[in-house]
């Protein structure tokens, strides 16, 4: 059983990394599945804490862990269909946005939500997803083009 010092350092890690890990997994898998995958990834982190501490990019690795476990255990779940998130009867966002995001390719959706939704920088997203920054740019560019078309939004908006 890990000692108190380990527990303390892991607690700090969860507080520091957990919120962003959750954001990225929600972007990939949807709200409920993304949060559940975050729990799974952090549980994996606890069980493999010594190994994780030596990793160069533990958050990025946990993203892969959570994504793969989320896909394997929650397959075929519909993404982004929570009516409360969509705004209910009085939509506060474009009602079709959730569906349009769900129809994007995963990399495009994650890149767009993290950058335009959660305010990450391109470099942060690239590091988290283990991609080149230019690749992230391309995902955002193509995804935004699809979103605009899907939502029939003018290119200048």
């Amino acid at each position: 059983m890990p000692d108190d010092e380990t527990s303390e350092s892991f607690t700090g890690f969860v507080r520091r990394v957990g919120p962003r890990l959750k954001q990225s997994l929600i972007a990939a898998l949807g709200g409920e599945a993304g949060r559940e995958a975050t729990c799974e990834a952090l549980a994996w982190a606890w069980e493999n804490w010594p190994r994780l501490q030596n990793m160069e990019n533990p958050a990025g690795y946990l993203y892969k862990v959570g994504r793969n476990r989320g896909i394997s255990t929650l397959r075929r779940k519909v993404l982004f269909t929570d009516p409360e998130i969509a705004g209910g009867e009085e939509p506060w966002v474009e009602p079709a946005l959730a569906g349009a995001l769900a129809r994007l390719g995963e990399n495009q959706r994650v890149a767009i939500l993290l950058i335009h939704g959660f305010g990450w920088t391109y470099r942060e997203v690239a590091r988290h997803l283990d991609l080149a920054t230019g690749t992230v740019q391309t995902h955002v560019k193509r995804g935004m083009t699809k979103l605009r078309h899907d939502l029939k939004v003018d290119a200048n908006v």
Binding site: I85, L97, R103, K141, V157
Partner: protein, 477 residues
């Protein structure tokens, strides 16, 4: 409605609030609860015996396979030879092409130093002689309000602009939808402004597509028809859409019959084969071979895949998938498998596979009239392969240091690829034939502050790099 990025931010904020962060306390409760559940126990001796039996069986099978005379070497992981990174790398016998003579470079600007972009004058102009011509890099210093604006075509220097798609002598086509009721093959596609956005069901799809036209396939993501007009192909919102390249105007929209199936990702692009992805591991392959069309089971069906990409080249199609042992396994490597097809419906695995160092980070396959390129990225970096028949693949003798940000992409003068080096610089690779490459630096070494945006990409015939306060555009001219 407020602008799209504001809407996305609002939506993300709601998501963030509705699904609260995982606290250490909650996590510990889950771990304790999990530990109290009965778990499958490790039966050491039994598993050890099973492993021993498997090892013996594998050894016997390997011996039998190796003892057969003349058996083809298939499914052997292939690592390409790597050579030290140089500015130009060649392979013997493959470079007989007169590159300079065959080039159709964009117009050379009379004075590139005067090219303003977004009101900014170039702060620096650099030229480099390459085997394809004179490459010019312009640096602009200034702030961009929106990084996406960098990719807006209006920011392109006019002198670098790729000529509009040539259709001289053609009258403006009246974009009206032909009456294609029945099964008669359509002589030309479609369309008038009045019917843009019209939908087509699968039953009449075969008669709607201009499959009988010569020169119908014009390369990746583009279809040429009726003497020169080009349509871009994309898969959006569950439909295959064809748009005029010059205006972006929607010309044809094909919608699958089952509205519950939402195709999300077009990976085999641009011709008569399209591949769609629905939920994470469910893939479909839409095929139009000129006679019949519809969704078929993809060759990788039943396997866990990370990435799939496909392309048409010559009269063939190639599909490449990164296959992993299983979804759960975190510590093993993926394998790249390749299939090819003539008709888009029947697929043959090439017999080659590439083992990766870890899981695939990205893969990209692009075809041309007579060749196809495959770029793989894994934990070791990026590797390039080229094939002229889809069956035999050669490792290209260019060592790519760093991550490939974009490409190799077909451009007007050949192929282009941009690479982000680990030293945070951007390098451009250009090639006429996919085998011989020139390498040059687009943006210099740069040490961006934490959180700064930095990256490079390809837009049209141009390579682009962006850093805080500066950006670079490179191209021929």
């Amino acid at each position: 409605m407020s602008d799209l990025t504001t809407q996305i931010r609002e939506y993300a904020t709601r998501l963030d609030e509705r699904y609260p962060d995982v606290s250490p306390e909650e996590l510990m409760e889950r771990l304790v609860s999990r530990d109290s559940q009965p778990r499958r126990r490790w039966n050491g001796p039994l598993v050890a015996i099973a492993v021993a039996v498997l090892v013996v069986l594998l050894g016997v099978l390997t011996y039998l396979a190796s003892s057969q005379q003349g058996s083809p070497v298939v499914d052997q992981p292939v690592r390409p030879p790597t050579v030290p990174s140089t500015s130009v790398t060649t392979q013997e016998g493959e470079l007989a092409t007169d590159i300079t003579a065959a080039s159709t470079l964009p117009t050379v600007p009379s004075d590139p130093t005067t090219m303003e972009v977004d009101g900014l004058e170039p702060a620096e102009v650099r030229t480099v002689e390459t085997s394809l011509g004179t490459w010019t890099t312009l640096r602009y210093d200034g702030e961009l309000a929106d990084m996406e604006a960098l990719f807006n075509p209006s920011f392109r220097p006019a002198t670098f602009e790729t000529p509009a798609f040539p259709n001289p002598g053609l009258p403006e086509v009246d974009w009206h939808e032909h009456d294609t009721s029945g099964s008669a093959v359509v002589g030309q596609v479609a369309v008038s402004t009045a019917s843009i956005g019209g939908t087509f069901d699968w039953e009449t799809l075969g008669s709607r597509l201009p499959s009988g036209l010569p020169g119908w396939i014009e390369g990746e993501r583009a279809i040429e028809f009726d003497g020169g007009h080009v349509l871009d192909v994309d898969l959006v919102a569950g439909a295959v859409e064809f748009r005029r390249r010059d205006t972006g105007e929607l010309a044809l929209r094909l919608v699958p019959p089952d509205a519950s199936i939402s195709a999300q990702q077009l990976v085999g692009e641009g011709s008569r084969v399209a591949s769609g992805r629905w939920e994470p591991e469910i893939w479909g392959l839409f095929v139009d071979n000129g006679e019949t069309s519809g969704w078929v089971e993809p060759p990788w069906s039943g396997r866990a895949v990370d990435y799939v990409d496909g392309t048409a080249f010559g009269d063939q199609f190639v599909l490449v998938a990164s296959v992993r042992p299983d979804w759960e396994e975190q510590n093993r490597s993926s394998i790249i498998r390749i299939w090819r097809s003539i008709d888009g419906a029947n697929w043959t695995e090439t017999g080659l596979s590439f083992d990766l160092d870890g899981f695939a980070r990205d893969l990209d396959v692009q075809g041309d009239e007579d060749s196809v390129s495959l770029r793989l990225e894994d934990d070791s970096g990026a590797r390039l392969f080229v094939s002229t028949d889809g069956a035999v693949w050669d490792g290209v003798g260019v060592e790519i240091e760093g991550g490939v940000a974009a490409g190799p992409t077909r451009v007007s003068f050949g192929w282009m690829m941009v690479v982000e080096g680990d030293d945070t610089s951007c390098h451009v690779y250009i090639s006429r034939d996919l085998r011989s490459w020139d390498s040059l630096q687009l943006a210099p070494l740069f040490d961006p502050p934490d959180g700064a945006n930095w990256g490079c990409s390809i837009d049209g015939d141009h390579a682009i790099a962006l850093a805080e306060g500066s950006y670079w555009i490179g191209g021929f001219g």
